[in-house]
Symmetry: C4
Subunit: 245 residues, 4 copies
């Protein structure tokens, strides 16, 4: 269901949502590495738990307004998958503004987290790119697209907040890259030299892997769910409305 | 939807709900610091997990009666945001009694937690105020108001229990202040010299930051969701009711 | 809504449900103390996480059949609170059979957990009774009754599985007794000399505190929610049914 | 509700779903054992948390297409329990193809996890079979079948994703075998010599126990829920549809 809100307001929603997402990822990473210095696994558990809860919550809050993409790959996939729909979908001309708002929000979120923990601004020195993490980012992003658009196409979009939160919580642990799976968030995480940071040289292959994963995800959804199911709720509302006419 | 219950009963609900919330925050903090003495991060994970679960549960239980504010900033924002609504909203004259019930409940909850762990009553000596935690409390409270009233205005109020629980679970970790975000709870936590306590001198700037954050949150919601959407459930009930007339 | 199933089948449901609940509490306690020998808090986190998930799941599975009480205090409260309802409620003559099934299930669950971990049967030697834990059990049981019957009376019974699971997860950490809050489970936990066990001498005051807490919980609910609200779902179904007549 | 999708597409869904499930189990086990080398309990908590979230999410995503069995015992039970239903159920001729897709997916998932963490392919050397774990696998699989088909028969199938995720999260900790409860996943986990692996010699008795547990689970459900309740949602949709005719 496309939002009836003006584009400017939807862009502010994407800016705030992506910003708070990165502030949660980076901020909880800083807190975890300070408070649990002895065990990196425990740090990651604290970091992934905060992100699981935070992402699910942010999607629930902002999806009615902007769709709560927070991710250029999701915006691209949303446009592609709705372009032949009989219903109005996500417009091609909104992709670039969405991506800009997401990237700016992500950078702002990293800087906000640094400020909340009194950490000076710095570019990350954490190298993460290896063949294994490149594969991991492909899988992680394909999976994310599979989750979101399978739920859209099977008429279960109301499950997206919890399912995407759960997906990211599982993917943090199941991949060697800890599942960035999001170009905007990847760029934002360049701007903090803390637990969740990523060096610029590693961000570039991560972005490539994410785009490739997004294409694979779209192909999977297109095969598995070739048509869009009507959501049961919508059916009820429509029926009840016609009754009272 | 304003509660049809008498004010006295709603005040008891706010007293009990805020009291149990603080008993959970303080009690789980005491248990965590006793049982996991080696790792402060693990203590915070135990504390934040209990609070996430407990807060979501308390809102589900008491929202039908009092709205489950448990927080003077939320009561103020509820009044402000519903004051021009065509439907009856939260009345200005209920704000002060709600705040008193919340503060008394919070103090009672701290004392109850102390009693359940056989800890003598004492005022907290934990200083928490710094420029970084001041900023963190502004962000945390603005985010809390954004979550609650975005869900109200988008017709998704049924998601508030889970979303607010998840918000607090994420905010514990993403902010340097561990996200008090609640003047009543802040005052209650003065009355325990344990893991979750806060010294009086730190409580004052925390309260100021929370009020400022509340204003920012209200402005954000007013921009993002300027009108109130009808909840789908309510629409169905209403339609079905008219049908059978 | 009283179950239309025969009493024998409902008793089997209570036996299995209480049995699996105790098997989860005791079994996860054994695994936690074996696998995390260095940190008692981490053991309790593992134990409470398993119990939160397991209890919510068991209630969802068996509530349509027996009400999923798993707890004599809940059975007593259910009878008391529905005794003057215009709809058929939980019958007084079912209380004793329910309690017997729950206690036998709880003992069986403790023995099953021991067997699954190859631990010889033995009576627990863990003393837990103090004035502080006595108070904690009163609060924990009153809170449990408050949660369950507030949700029943406000027409939100569909939230009970998640809310009761969350309640127990929070109460484990917020009380000095780790919140037994259940006479059947308390008796069952006498029959295992492991992490979750309780000595007979401590079980007796725990049972007294739980009964007292149950009474307080019933009084609280009776004050806060004096009447039963119609569940929205039921209202819809009823309306739609009448329409098609 | 049987899926209208062609069998080939449903088999791809089972292949992908079981594959991602095993990739999550194996991958998070590798990450946990690398990052938390000091505490096996913490490793299992990280592993079980990822699996709880991942399994719930995968069921939500793929259930509308294939039923999201991911498990030959579930496919067998689904056929058996729906064979005399008046509605079309899971066909006997689909069992073998489903099982093949599940086993191949599970092996593929183990290999994918190895590749994402740059671990050479190897057969597991982890012996797990003892009389205690044999009993545990019986109980774990019976419980899994009890959960799934009780929810189906009581008209609460929409709760299956969350309930099955929660079940596995609890069962990981409550059983000495960590609850494989799935022949396909057991076979897949032979193909990784890491935290979650199982030696071939142990897999054979695990498979036997799982089949036995499946039979017990079917008997329990057949006794507890002898008839299928109509799902409330379906009832509403049907009623509303007839109204507008």
């Amino acid at each position: 269901m496309p939002s009836p809100a003006p584009l400017a307001r939807r862009l502010v929603a994407e800016f705030i949502g992506t910003g708070l997402l990165v502030a949660i990822v980076v901020g909880s990473g800083i807190a975890a590495s300070r408070l649990s210095p002895e065990d990196i696994g425990l740090q990651l558990l604290e970091n992934s738990t905060a992100t699981t809860l935070g992402l699910a919550m942010l999607i629930a809050v902002l999806a009615p307004l902007s769709g709560a993409h927070f991710n250029p790959v999701v915006s691209l996939a949303d446009w592609w998958m709705s372009r032949r729909s009989s219903q109005p979908g996500f417009a091609a001309r909104a992709i670039a503004p969405y991506a800009v708002a997401q990237v700016l929000g992500a950078i702002g979120g990293a800087l906000l987290a640094n400020a909340m923990f009194n950490i000076p601004a710095a570019i990350s020195a954490t190298e993460r790119a290896t063949p294994a993490t490149f594969l991991a980012e492909i899988v992680a992003t394909a999976g994310l697209v599979l989750v979101i658009f399978s739920l859209v196409r099977s008429g279960n979009a109301r499950m997206i907040p919890a399912a995407v939160g759960a997906y990211v919580g599982a993917a943090y642990w199941s991949t060697s890259s800890t599942s960035f799976a999001n170009p905007a968030v990847t760029i934002g995480r360049i701007f903090t030299d803390t637990f969740a940071g990523i060096a610029l040289a590693s961000a570039v292959p991560f972005l490539a892997a994410q785009l490739l994963g997004g294409v694979i995800g779209v192909l999977l959804v297109s095969y598995l769910y070739p048509v869009v199911a009507a959501a049961p709720e919508v059916a009820i509302t429509k029926a009840a409305t016609e009754v009272v006419k």
